[in-house]
């Protein structure tokens, strides 16, 4: 290392000259090499590679020379399973976004009311986050099993006609998955919200009490708007999770009954490896990426583009 940022003894001998920009903060730049490589090679490079190959007729192995244009996309959008997957993702995404935020915030708000046993409750809400989606899927599959689970228990209590069998009902199976997904992830959102609530100036609460604002109204009109950055953080985390939902579905329903709980990530995986049609899988994943960008770019623009912070 010829030049270092701090040792810089060499540059000290030629003080009047402005040092080369490139070598400024050289250590910082060197230390960022893994990040730069990851960003460029993995996130940009691999994505580009994937997008490129989605225009080819790659089967088991990538075949960059078999260019087929938009064929893969045409087939994709005429496949029922893909359409169902997209629809499921939309339902699951919106519901889990809304429910995670609502449940996470509500629980955090309740815990923030100076209650007894806060840490016990907090641990109870948070522990599912420690478990993998595979485990989550299995347990809920079991709890929702119509013969042994909730349905049978309620029926045994005497409510004979009670049916609650989401995992075997194609119309509502996605909600069965949602129950499990919320169970696993909302605790983490709760913690984030709790941290945000703790950051609210105590005086704001006092001010609203002096003005006689009811607690619920204070939350809705004053506190939630103040927690915007926290909500954004939570939103990013939830959204990043939603797009990737795969393990949960595999463990809980394997996409069934039929194809009623298929999700895009599963479609991608299965097309790529099971059907040995990489091109199709890549086309599907490109579509997923596009949908992420459609959501993300306007947000990023609003968040960072409009007003420059720090």
């Amino acid at each position: 290392m010829a030049v270092t940022d701090s040792g810089g003894t060499e540059s000290a001998r030629t003080p009047a000259k402005k040092p080369n920009r490139l070598f400024k903060n050289l250590t910082a730049k060197l230390a960022s090499v893994p990040m730069i490589l990851t960003a460029i090679v993995v996130f940009i490079g691999c994505t580009g590679w994937t997008i490129y190959h989605s225009f080819t007729k790659s089967r088991l192995l990538p075949a960059p020379d078999k260019w087929v244009g938009l064929d893969q996309y045409e087939r994709l959008w005429s496949t029922r399973r893909w359409l169902v997957s997209i629809e499921n993702l939309a339902i699951y995404g919106i519901c889990s976004l809304v429910l995670s935020l609502v449940i996470g915030f509500t629980l955090a708000a309740l815990l923030d009311r100076k209650i007894r046993g806060e840490s016990v409750f907090r641990t109870i809400f948070l522990y599912p986050f420690a478990l993998s989606f595979i485990v989550t899927g299995l347990v809920w599959q079991w709890v929702l099993n119509p013969d042994f689970g909730i349905q049978s228990v309620v029926q045994r209590w005497g409510w004979e006609s009670f049916t609650f069998d989401p995992l075997n009902n194609a119309d509502i199976v996605i909600y069965g998955i949602l129950i499990a997904g919320i169970w696993q992830g909302s605790g983490f959102i709760m913690v984030i919200m709790l941290a945000g609530l703790r950051g609210i100036d105590e005086d704001i609460w006092k001010a609203t009490r002096v003005e006689g604002i009811p607690v619920w109204k204070t939350y809705i009109v004053v506190i939630i708007p103040m927690m915007r950055p926290v909500f954004v953080t939570a939103l990013v985390l939830i959204a990043a999770g939603i797009i990737k939902v795969y393990d949960l579905v595999v463990a809980q329903t394997s996409g069934g009954p039929g194809i009623s709980s298929e999700v895009p990530a599963k479609y991608v995986i299965e097309k790529m490896f099971q059907s040995q049609n990489l091109g199709q899988g890549f086309a599907a994943s490109t579509m997923m990426l596009v949908s992420v960008l459609v959501v993300l770019i306007p947000w990023a623009y609003l968040e960072f583009g409009g007003k420059r912070r720090d």
């Binding site: 009490r209 002096v210 006689g212 009811p214």
Partner: protein, 360 residues
């Protein structure tokens, strides 16, 4: 008629007793300043009066009504916070009207009250802005406005100016004083800035460790502090203390090597008797120059250090074996090592018992 009365107020946080059987009576229209070092319980007391803290024992009356168990919003108080506590996502107008809307005050009346408050505080041009787009002083004004629109009898201020810079603080101080003269509300004002306390207060309550040490007019507190703590707390630069003995009959105060006459001292109760004591002399009661010889006590000192502050100069020296500071005019020309003749009247100072530290 008493407007705010605090009877035997005790407050404990867990095992810690922060306020200890505190009593306080505040007249209607009075401007009372709670002054004390950090952590002495000023904010706690204010929060108790506002109903924001559940008290452990005692009673609180406002406007003749026992409000001990009432909600903050029902006590007829308005409160202004150190951090302003404005609602950041609402405009100034929204901030001012939020409480009224919530209390279901009719729209036209809200508009009228907001307009009046805005006019009083001269924040009309700001009504449509959000707090983030306001300067510190403007924010503080909006915070006051929020209490103002609610048309309350008692205003509570918790260090409302301490987040502002010196200049703004001085300006807003004057504004507050004028506001009080105009509204004639009862105001309870917490600060640890003594200039604020001295200039604003009708009466100052000096607190220490959850107990009120002295409650009196600014002049009284300054000139006749009830104990050594108050004397040392009030006044900048700090008062000078001499350790010594009062001679029989209270005619004289004697340190190891110096004797100072006490003729004319106004004792707090009865006459002075011989005992060990502290004598406090304020830096600004020292006289130099031609008038020195009119003073009952004169001596010669050597300047050790001086601070020229423009309007005044502060001189550091040693007198009767203790460090001694006094103030001279800013035009005075002194240098370290100079010898000066100074004089003061020890009877204008304050004497404190050596052990109880109470004023004699």
């Amino acid at each position: 008629m008493t407007n705010v009365t605090v009877k035997d107020l005790t407050l404990e946080f867990g095992a810690v007793r922060v306020l200890d059987k505190l009593n306080l009576e505040i007249e209607e229209g009075e401007f009372l300043v709670l002054l004390g070092a950090s952590g002495c319980g000023k904010s706690t007391l204010l929060n108790c009066i506002a109903g924001l803290l559940d008290i452990t024992d005692g009673e609180i009356h406002i406007g003749g009504r026992n409000v001990t168990w009432e909600e903050p919003s029902e006590r007829g108080i308005g409160m202004v916070f150190q951090s302003y506590a404005l609602y950041p996502q609402m405009t100034v107008e929204g901030n001012l009207s939020f409480g009224l809307k919530n209390a279901k005050v009719p729209k036209p009346e809200i508009a009228e009250r907001v307009a009046r408050a805005a006019e009083i505080l001269q924040i009309e041009p700001l009504l449509k802005r959000k707090p983030a787009a306001l300067s510190g002083g403007q924010r503080q004004r909006v915070a006051i406005g929020r209490a103002l629109v609610r048309d309350v009898d008692v205003f509570l201020f918790d260090e409302p100016l301490s987040n502002l810079d010196a200049k703004l603080r001085a300006d807003l101080r004057v504004e507050l004083k004028l506001l009080h003269q105009r509204l004639q509300n009862t105001m309870i004002y917490v600060t640890h800035d003594q200039v604020e306390a001295m200039t604003l207060a009708d009466r100052i309550a000096i607190m220490r460790g959850g107990v009120v040490q002295q409650i009196a007019s600014p002049a009284e507190v300054y000139n006749r502090p009830s104990n050594k703590y108050v004397a040392g707390f009030i006044g900048s630069p700090t008062i000078n203390f001499f350790e010594g003995d009062i001679a029989e009959g209270g005619v004289e105060f004697a340190t190891a090597d110096t004797k100072m006459p006490l003729t004319g001292y106004e004792a707090s109760q009865g006459a002075l008797s011989a005992r060990p004591a502290w004598l406090g002399i304020r830096p600004e009661s020292v006289i130099t120059g031609t008038d020195v010889d009119t003073q009952p006590f004169t001596t010669e000192i050597t300047v050790e250090l001086f601070e020229a502050m423009g309007a005044d100069t502060l001189v550091y020296t040693t007198l009767a074996g203790t460090p001694f500071r006094f103030r001279m005019s800013g035009q005075a020309r002194v240098a370290a090592g100079d010898t000066l003749r100074i004089g003061f009247d020890p009877a204008q100072g304050s004497l404190f018992d050596k052990t109880t530290e109470e004023r004699l």
